[in-house]
């Protein structure tokens, strides 16, 4: 009768492992570390892109921005020279409203998810984006059109459709925890853990797999491709960490999540930043974030440059 209780653990047992809860994250970390005035810098992808360019962080190249409904008809002009592109809401979250067009001809747009859309349908999508369908709180939005990332083939077997990306949690400029998110059939090609994507915890010093989870349960192979998840190693790890570290100076946010993808030609590229990154990363890593935050707070030096901080992390004795 009380079998379901076994699924619950004692608060003390979680605390002993330094698990960070939602309330503690909001009250003890986000509230003091993230000045609310800085949120627009990361909530608006156009602003983020501009800032990233100044900070020397790689992002997908911007093709154009559509701000008003009357500009929607200019869309063909914008993409004239782009054989492939991505349409994104500037204030979107969790991959909502992202339309990836792999190739197009005349009135036919071939999306990454295998659909073929007409001009009218793409217009509708942009129009919806502008009216706030995908933005937080439904406020008016802006559609961002940028170059498609040429994903590195390295992760080809590790993801079902969709883009595998690396999420790095950065605390006070120090990369604290990292995971890779792999899309599955169940997650509909998207990299959101709550939708059924696989989360692979990565060793912050090496970019190698710690463990992998799906729906909060450990998995060893990708459910669709059968790839051995323990073999996963993220190349250019130092560069990944550097993007996260630089994002701190770039935004001023003491607690942030950086989403990074690996481009075949241009290396690691930052897709977006998040001022309230979720806590599922702890499950993927099998360890608590509070422990790391405490360690950074207590023992890590302050006043270092991003490069020095990454160096510190890579050389730290854990």
């Amino acid at each position: 009768m009380f079998g379901w209780l076994k699924n619950y653990s004692l608060p003390s047992a979680l605390k002993a492992n330094g698990v960070l809860g939602m309330n503690a994250r909001n009250y003890k970390i986000i509230a003091p570390q993230n000045d609310r005035r800085l949120y627009p810098l990361v909530d608006d992808k156009v602003k983020t892109k501009v800032l990233a360019g100044k900070a020397g962080i790689n992002t997908p190249r911007l093709i154009g921005v559509i701000e008003y409904q009357h500009q929607v008809k200019d869309f063909p002009d914008v993409i004239k020279n782009a054989p492939q592109f991505v349409i994104k809401p500037a204030h979107g979250s969790g991959g909502k409203g992202v339309l990836v067009v792999n190739r197009w001809e005349e009135d036919r747009f071939f999306t990454a998810s295998g659909k073929v859309l007409s001009f009218r349908e793409v217009f509708g999508h942009i129009s919806n984006t502008l009216s706030g369908l995908f933005s937080l709180g439904g406020q008016y939005d802006v559609a961002l059109i940028e170059e498609t990332v040429n994903f590195s083939d390295l992760f080809k077997n590790f993801s079902y459709q969709g883009v595998p990306d690396v999420r790095i949690i950065v605390y006070k400029g120090y990369p604290a925890m990292a995971m890779m998110r792999l899309a599955t059939a169940e997650s509909g090609g998207r990299a959101n853990l709550h939708q059924g994507a696989v989360g692979v915890g990565l060793d912050i010093r090496s970019g190698k797999t710690l463990r992998a989870v799906m729906h909060n349960r450990p998995v060893s192979v990708h459910p669709d491709t059968g790839a051995d998840l323990s073999k996963l190693v993220v190349p250019f790890w130092r560069e990944h960490l550097l993007i996260g570290a630089k994002a701190y100076e770039m935004t001023g946010l003491g607690y942030l999540g950086a989403d990074i993808v690996l481009d075949r030609d241009r290396g690691p590229m930052m897709l977006e930043l998040n001022a309230r990154p979720g806590l599922a990363i702890q499950i993927a890593n099998g360890s608590g974030l509070a422990t790391v935050v405490k360690k950074i707070e207590k023992t890590y030096p302050v006043g270092l440059t991003p490069e020095e901080r990454v160096g510190y992390i890579l050389n730290a004795v854990s």
Binding site: L14, N23, Y27, G138
Partner: protein
């Protein structure tokens, strides 16, 4: 150091305690001075007591002096009214009397004194103590003395303390020969009581009569009721003259006690005072204003929400229960960790459920949501812009509500008639959000969000549907302040949410 002393949490805790103390005092004040009650629909008993003084004038100037209950004593007087034509009325507050004076009268006179009191049970029985009058031993002849001693000897066998023994023997059926011999042939209550006092005096126990009115429904023109008061060496104690039961009965109102008389009439003979009592029932709330006035706290009352017209009061009655609903939402989200659609949506649904009835409302709401989701699914094929789309959903909801209400009226299905009580815009947004979640995260996510919203609504409903709780949050609205600080304090809660204990259970130590 100072920073440590004044952390947000400590300040809020302090404010919470202060507000709780304030609410406690507020409750005390309202109960004591306004007669509020923790129970809803409480009615207070209001008694109209008529004292009719009648006498035949002797032709000399008339002066009537009647002992009246004093306001500061055993119970609360709402109103006093005098009908005495041609008399000058004067109150003698110090001695608790009312005096009527006039020139010589001719016909038989009737003076009416009406008192409206409310049953203030909690204040009863607190009598002020006076000095003991010198004990007057009765003067008896030999035979009387013998009888008295016989009675006292017999009374020894009765239970209780001496006053009770005496009352006991005087009320024994049949009366013992000694008592029979001791009492006059035609004896009334008062004479009987006086005899008892004489006997107590023999035992050196000071005793006296207490005049008052025993409040009984529809009491008509009765003589003043009597009680016996005896001094037990430390204080005066009241005894029922028929049963010997000590203490002031709940329904007894004292007009006069001590050495003074109940009624003095100069310039008249055959004077008597007769009492009648009539009870009416008034709700405590209605009475509160009168009580406040009687207590001299009218101004505070006028500026409270209870001084408002009833219509406004009823509207506020809903408002004052809101904070409790909000507290539940906060608990559900930040302590339990349930995700709901829209922060206060569950609370608003719960409000509607109170009006519709739980199951009927739940069924009605489910039908609206289900039909709405169906229509919304058709709508999503049209790729409408956001505002026109949500507007269409709002109109869908309005149409569904119309159809359901008509259907409910024609068929008598309660769940259908309940439709009209649901907030239209909120319902439309639930449909819109659920539909988007459905498209993006799948049906199970959408349905679970709706389900958890309904669970939260149900919990909120359970709390606010209670007549008791609604009454308490309204009558003792200081609770709103307590809830405010409780909510603010919850804003500093950094512990795990209940759902996180499951979510992160794989990270627990020892697994």
């Amino acid at each position: 150091m100072i920073k440590k002393l004044f952390t947000v949490r400590k300040v809020l805790t302090l404010l919470l305690l202060l507000s709780a103390a304030f609410a406690g005092y507020g409750a005390y004040y309202k109960i004591t001075y306004w007669g509020f009650d923790f129970r809803p629909n409480r009615t207070a008993k209001v008694w109209n007591i008529d004292a009719r003084v009648s006498f035949v004038p002797t032709g000399e100037p008339v002066k009537v002096s009647l002992a009246v209950p004093s306001a500061k004593r055993n119970f609360r007087i709402l109103n006093e009214d005098v009908r005495a034509q041609g008399y000058e009325v004067r109150r003698d507050v110090r001695n608790g009397r009312i005096e009527f004076t006039s020139g010589p009268q001719e016909k038989e006179q009737n003076i009416y004194y009406r008192l409206t009191v409310y049953d203030n049970e909690e204040k009863r029985g607190k009598l002020t103590d006076e000095k003991i009058p010198p004990l007057e031993k009765p003067v008896y002849d030999e035979r009387q003395k013998q009888t008295a001693e016989e009675i006292l000897a017999e009374a020894e066998n009765f239970e209780g303390i001496w006053p009770q023994k005496i009352i006991g023997i005087f009320n024994k059926e049949p009366l013992s020969p000694a008592v029979n011999a001791f009492l006059p042939v035609k004896v009334n209550q008062k004479q009987r009581a006086e005899k008892m006092i004489e006997l107590l005096a023999l035992k050196s126990i000071p005793a006296r009569l207490v005049h008052g009115v025993r409040l009984e429904e529809g009491k008509q023109a009765a003589e003043a009721d009597l009680m016996l008061e005896a001094y037990d060496g430390r204080k005066w104690r009241l005894f029922d003259i028929n049963t010997g039961k000590p203490g002031l009965p709940e329904n007894f109102i004292i007009f006069q006690r001590g050495s003074a008389s109940l009624l003095d009439v100069a310039g008249g003979r055959e004077s008597k005072v007769r009492f009648s009592a009539l009870r009416s029932v008034v709700s405590s709330f209605k009475l509160a204003g009168h009580r406040a006035q009687a207590e001299g706290y009218r101004r505070v009352f006028d500026y409270s929400i209870y001084g408002l017209p009833l219509l406004e009061q009823n509207a506020l009655k809903w408002l004052t229960v809101f904070p409790l609903g909000i507290l539940i939402v906060v608990l559900m989200r930040n302590v339990v960790g349930i995700k709901t659609m829209g922060t206060f949506t569950p609370m608003l649904i719960a409000m509607s459920l109170v009006k519709t009835g739980f199951w009927a409302g739940l069924a009605g709401f489910s039908v609206i949501i289900a039909v709405g989701l169906l229509l919304r699914a058709l709508l999503s094929h049209l790729n409408l812009l956001l505002v026109p789309r949500i507007s269409s959903v709002v109109i869908f909801v309005i149409l569904i509500i119309q159809i359901l209400t008509v259907a409910g009226y024609r068929t008598g299905w309660e769940f259908a008639s309940s439709a009209v009580f649901f907030p239209i815009i909120i319902t439309a947004w639930i449909i819109e959000r659920a539909s988007i979640t459905w498209e993006e995260d799948g049906a199970s996510n959408a349905l679970s969000e709706i389900f958890y919203s309904m669970v939260t609504a149900a919990v909120t409903y359970l709390v606010i549907s209670s007549e008791y709780i609604r009454h308490i949050t309204f009558a003792f609205n200081e609770i709103n302040l307590v809830i405010l600080f409780a909510v603010m304090l919850l804003g500093t809660y950094t512990g795990y949410r209940l759902t996180e204990l499951k979510r992160f259970s794989s990270l627990a130590k020892g697994r």
